[in-house]
């Protein structure tokens, strides 16, 4: 039961692009925090409890590392806190470090979610719309990668069980890897010949090829696109007229907080939290349905 992933791929793509683009171009701390929170919550609905723990540890450490390293290398800013080896550590660069940490983590989280949601067939479908030939190539690539990987494991195990390059020494491992790769090239060519025949036998190369996909654009999709665009326009207009401007150097400016800015925050917040609320709503609805089974 994954409601957000059942949306039309173009819609997921639009939403993702909107959230990440605004998050990357804006320097406003409120926007960044909203983006991070939305991404983290959505990510949490998709992953197992164990994975959540691992992720939390990873992201906290990564953010800490960014926060600590930025002031050590960047000495911009006017408010000096202390000196290390004669170099100033400024308040501005510490804050800027925080901003970078939040932005980096939020972008990474959104990409992680994107990877979960946009399965290979959705990507194939989207690119197929732009360039029909690409879609088949992509689909074949997605098919070949695991196939080759599996064959590589088989070949290296076969060698090992005959005593070829079977010791744990580094030299043996490198030799084994080299021979496996060289044999895989021949193997994939051989394989490709048969696949090409199978394609030809099924009429590949005839004129007027169509592209089939199972994705349908529903009412929900339409509402979603409309909502996303509406929220995006508000946020971008705010950015355009400088209502969300924020500067870290040389000194920190005040966080914009007039009515227009607040509306923009609300709009972007809604956009960032949309998948999470959508998902939780579905989850609650699903629990209700389940109780009636």
């Amino acid at each position: 039961m994954r409601a957000f992933s059942s949306l039309h791929p173009a819609v997921s793509m639009l939403h993702f692009a909107a959230v990440v683009a605004v998050g990357m171009f804006s320097t406003n701390p409120v926007i960044e925090v909203l983006s991070l929170a939305g991404g983290a919550l959505f990510c949490a609905t998709l992953t197992s409890p164990e994975q959540k723990k691992k992720d939390a540890v990873f992201y906290v450490f990564m953010m800490l590392a960014v926060v600590i390293t930025n002031p050590l290398f960047s000495h911009n800013g006017v408010t000096e806190l202390l000196f290390i080896n004669g170099n100033p550590i400024t308040l501005e660069s510490v804050i800027y470090g925080c901003y970078m940490a939040v932005t980096a983590a939020s972008v990474m989280l959104w990409f992680k979610v994107f990877g979960e949601i946009m399965t290979s067939d959705k990507i194939v479908f989207l690119f197929g719309r732009l360039l029909p030939q690409i879609s088949l190539v992509l689909s074949m690539a997605f098919r070949y990668v695991p196939l080759i990987k599996r064959q590589a494991v088989k070949v290296s195990r076969a060698q090992k069980a005959m005593g070829l390059y079977s010791s744990e020494k580094v030299v043996d491992r490198i030799r084994s890897a080299v021979s496996v790769i060289s044999v895989l090239i021949g193997w994939s060519l051989e394989n490709a010949v048969e696949t090409a025949k199978s394609m030809k036998a099924r009429g590949y190369g005839l004129k007027g090829k169509t592209n089939y996909s199972d994705f349908r654009f529903t009412k929900t999709d339409f509402c979603f696109v409309f909502g996303c665009l509406f929220l995006l326009v508000i946020t971008v207009s705010g950015m355009a007229i400088g209502k969300l401007d924020f500067y870290y150097y040389p000194s920190i400016t005040a966080v914009p907080s007039d009515i227009y800015s607040l509306i923009c925050y609300a709009a972007y917040g809604l956009l960032a939290f949309l998948p999470f609320t959508f998902e939780s709503g579905e989850m609650i609805r699903w629990k209700y349905y389940k109780s009636r089974i």
């Binding site: 069980a161 079977s166 193997w187």
Partner: protein, 552 residues
């Protein structure tokens, strides 16, 4: 009405001195199920591929192939793609895309069918073939049986009139293969589809076919109904591939109708040999052997949260013994072999080789003159472009001085009759030849124990006989052989001991005679035919031996 006519067809591959096909004359009627059989290299695959212009091999062709009265060269491409369906041998190589639904739609996309029609046709085919349960899966996650079914279904979506199949079930286990043949039969009976099937596993197919084409050296030997062909085949080397009932019938001189199935075979024996009821085929006596390999309480799983694949396996293997391990698909037989070979490490239990724990053999010494594993696909064994170079690479890596290379390779090659293959590319060899070369490579390491994973997969009856002979010969050299196999007939003919693997361990074992006559389903066709009359006979030769003895 004839749907396909082949007139005086001859074919020669470029640079070959012999014709691959020589003067073939065949006509196939609409709705017929035609089986093409013959030894490896007799030209049956060439014939089949020539029927479909897109995949026809290059070479000199004379004569005519008429589909629906039109020569195959001038046949409209769209019509050819649509109406002549082809399914090949290797399930993996034919799959083009990464998702099941996309694969099903692929043929229709190529024909330019419109989206909604694709949806309904794909949906219809998916439910006919029972694919709807894995319709959204990745093609890579499927089992071989599912993959081959998908290949068939994705050809069927274009609604072909004639189906050409090149050994489609040879890479499948017996149960998946029987399923596949049953599906073909259903297509033939229910949709009136014309089927031309090249196959060498004939036990299930013979009773289904309307006509059989038996080929030899590029010529059609017989083209007739199955029963007639069976009788004519008597004494021909191809006979060893025929269904067990036929082989038993042909070895006895009884004038009766030729039985094809187990049921008919049983009736035939009841009718003609009722007087020997209760005969016993004496069991081979088992020799006491010193234990060379022993597994005790071995448990293994692939990941922490997955269930055990092997749980509490106990196994003793005697020196110089041939042991076959049988079992269902995915039951963990191959994993067991990998564990014995030290490729997978059990989390519990011990394996001892010559009394020493296998985990104590360090730095690859386990594979030096101790044991060696031949994997399922012999293609994975070769890493060089020539067979002899491949052998040298192995000898070099195992520290054999260069002066000995040639003599060692020649000794092994001579023995296996592969001297003429040494300068070839491994991928250019046939499946049987690859297997032989792979086995030679393995013997270069001079192992005491040879582990074989599905050694007869994709083999025809003759190659199987040859392999049995080779294994017997290795046994007489004092080698111990452990084979994991689905092939019950092969296991029955070659092993000293058979074991059934189920639920993560070995649950029963015994001599082939006691093992197979004890099982009612997991047993050879010969045993199923004869069990009411003769006790303990599990091979066709054993059955006919008993019957002949009674005749005298």
């Amino acid at each position: 009405m004839e749907i396909l006519q082949i007139k005086d067809l001859s074919f020669k591959y470029p640079e070959a001195d012999k014709k691959a096909l020589d003067g073939i004359n065949i006509s196939v009627k609409k709705g017929e199920f035609v089986l093409v059989c013959g030894a490896s290299g007799c030209g049956k695959t060439t014939l089949l591929r020539l029927l479909k212009n897109e995949i026809a091999p290059f070479g000199e062709k004379t004569g005519e192939i008429l589909y629906d009265g039109v020569p195959s060269e001038t046949l409209d491409k769209r019509k050819s793609a649509c109406e002549l369906g082809f399914v090949g041998q290797n399930p993996d190589e034919q799959i083009v895309t990464d998702k099941v639904w996309h694969e099903l739609a692929f043929g229709l996309e190529n024909l330019g069918v419109e989206k909604n029609e694709i949806r309904s046709r794909v949906g219809e085919m998916a439910s006919f073939f029972g694919i709807h349960n894995w319709y959204h899966r990745k093609t890579d996650e499927l089992s071989d049986g599912q993959k081959q079914l998908l290949n068939l279904a994705s050809v069927m979506v274009t609604q072909p009139k004639i189906l050409l199949l090149d050994e489609p079930s040879s890479r499948l286990d017996p149960i998946a293969a029987a399923d596949f043949i049953a599906t073909l039969q259903r297509l033939n009976r229910e949709l009136g589809l014309t089927v031309i099937l090249v196959e060498h596993r004939l036990e299930d197919v013979f009773p289904v076919a309307d006509k059989v084409i038996a080929m030899e050296n590029g010529k059609v030997l017989f083209f007739d109904e199955p029963r007639t062909v069976c009788k004519k085949m008597k004494g021909n080397p191809l006979e060893s591939g025929l269904p067990s009932a036929v082989r038993i019938f042909n070895s006895l001189n009884v004038s009766d109708e030729c039985p094809l199935t187990v049921r008919e075979g049983r009736n035939f024996l009841e009718k003609n040999f009722a007087d020997i009821r209760g005969a016993v085929f004496e069991e081979k006596t088992q020799i006491e052997r010193e234990t060379i390999l022993e597994a005790k309480g071995v448990c293994f799983r692939y990941e922490k949260n997955l269930p055990d694949v092997v749980s509490g396996l106990d196994l003793k293997v005697g020196k110089g013994e041939i042991l076959s391990i049988l079992g269902g698909n995915g039951s963990g037989k191959t994993t067991t072999l990998n564990i014995l070979a030290g490729l997978d490490k059990p989390y519990k239990g011990k394996i001892r080789l010559n009394g020493k724990k296998t985990s104590d053999y360090k730095g690859g010494s386990l594979y030096r003159k101790n044991l060696a594993l031949l994997p399922q696909n012999p293609k994975t064994v070769f890493i060089k472009d020539r067979v002899d170079e491949d052998f040298i690479a192995l000898l070099k890596a195992t520290g054999v001085p260069a002066s000995e290379h040639e003599s060692r390779i020649n000794a092994v090659a001579k023995r296996f009759g592969i001297l003429n293959l040494l300068d070839k590319h491994p991928y250019d060899l046939s499946g049987g030849e690859q297997q032989k070369c792979a086995l030679c490579k393995l013997l270069l390491t001079q192992p005491q124990i040879i582990l074989l994973d599905e050694p007869t997969k994709g083999f025809d009856a003759c190659s199987k006989l040859q392999l049995s002979g080779l294994l017997r010969e290795l046994q007489s050299d004092g080698k111990t052989i452990i084979a994991v196999t689905h092939d019950m007939e092969f296991a029955a003919s070659v092993s000293d001991r058979c074991a059934l693997f189920f639920d993560g361990r070995i649950i029963s074992q015994g001599t082939p005679e006691s093992f197979f006559s004890g099982n009612s389903f997991y047993t050879t066709a010969a045993s199923r035919i004869s069990r009411d009359i003769i006790k303990g006979a599990v091979l066709c030769e054993e059955v006919s031996q008993c019957c002949r003895r009674a005749d005298r």
